[in-house]
Symmetry: C2
Subunit: 157 residues, 2 copies
DNA sequence: TATTGTTATACTCTATAACTATA
DNA sequence: TATAGTTATAGAGTATAACAATA
């Protein structure tokens, strides 16, 4: 039985692209909502905070605000706000950049790194579970197809 | 060249599910952001407002608040707020339900229907363009795979 | 002048929970 | 008691624009 959700507005007469889009949205919104509520309940944090820390985890020396802003796909003011929060909790720190006194590097503290590992492990488990209905081949296929979507979108944007 | 975005945090060592998830998010967030800004600029409206009207367009007799809430995947209070806005602009109306004086049917006015058609046409064009990099076969494949994701997620939720 | 990051602000979206009215 | 919808509230998330310091 079809669930009643965002996709309910799709007509059979709609172009196949639109029907696909509504399904994509329904999938990501549902999963994302659950991630948010689990992050809040189990770790008292939010998705942007988690995401900022995830970006930093890959880069031990830290990232500039402008780089974080690009990667998180949000404007600079917001990165400042999230960084302020995390810094006040001792999870990240701002480090001066040699040769440019306007800029900082934001990096995880050891406390931040420790706390992030716990969250990341849980998060990974939730995602593996959420996508657990797919075989490895299907995952590869989806990954490849969405890669194509992304590349095309960057070209026309 | 790989774009710098949400996916930048993906490691090769991450499980394939997580890498897929980050790609799904990057795709939908990018497209969704553009939709929001185009709806704002060209039609002075928002995605939830558009979505509510889209749900109603399929059902000329209207939908109850509770039904809208389910379909839009948001809680009742929010539907009230959006409906209030649209009603004050004469785009939707609340109609009494015979036999249940607690409930309403919300439906598009003719003005609402007229304005919606314009927006929907533009919206459809944006989506067709956004997903224009895919062949029809690829669209079918994605649609089918995401259907599987959705069904599995409903089972475990 | 341009760039980095911050501050201030405002608005949309959302969930939660208490509430009113009807069933 | 349960249900339909509303109200009130608080917080997340975001964009915009003006600003200070530095390049």
């Amino acid at each position: 039985m079809a669930p009643i959700d965002l996709e309910a507005r799709a007509h059979a007469e709609h172009p196949e692209q639109l029907r696909l889009w509504l399904r994509m949205l329904a999938c990501t919104q549902t999963i994302e909502r659950d991630l948010r509520s689990r992050l809040r309940e189990q770790f008292e944090t939010t998705l942007p905070r988690f995401d900022l820390m995830a970006q930093l985890e890959r880069v031990p020396e830290g990232l500039r605000m402008s780089e974080l802003s690009k990667r998180m796909m949000v404007t600079g003011g917001n990165v400042t706000g999230i960084t302020d929060q995390l810094e006040s909790e001792g999870l990240v720190e701002r480090v001066n950049v040699e040769g440019d006194r306007r800029a900082y590097l934001v990096r995880l503290t050891s406390k931040g790194r420790r706390e992030f590992r716990g969250m990341a492990q849980a998060h990974e488990g939730w995602i593996v579970e959420a996508l657990g209905g797919l075989t490895s081949n299907e995952i590869q296929a989806l990954h490849q197809l969405l890669g194509k979507v992304k590349r095309h979108y960057l070209e026309i944007a």
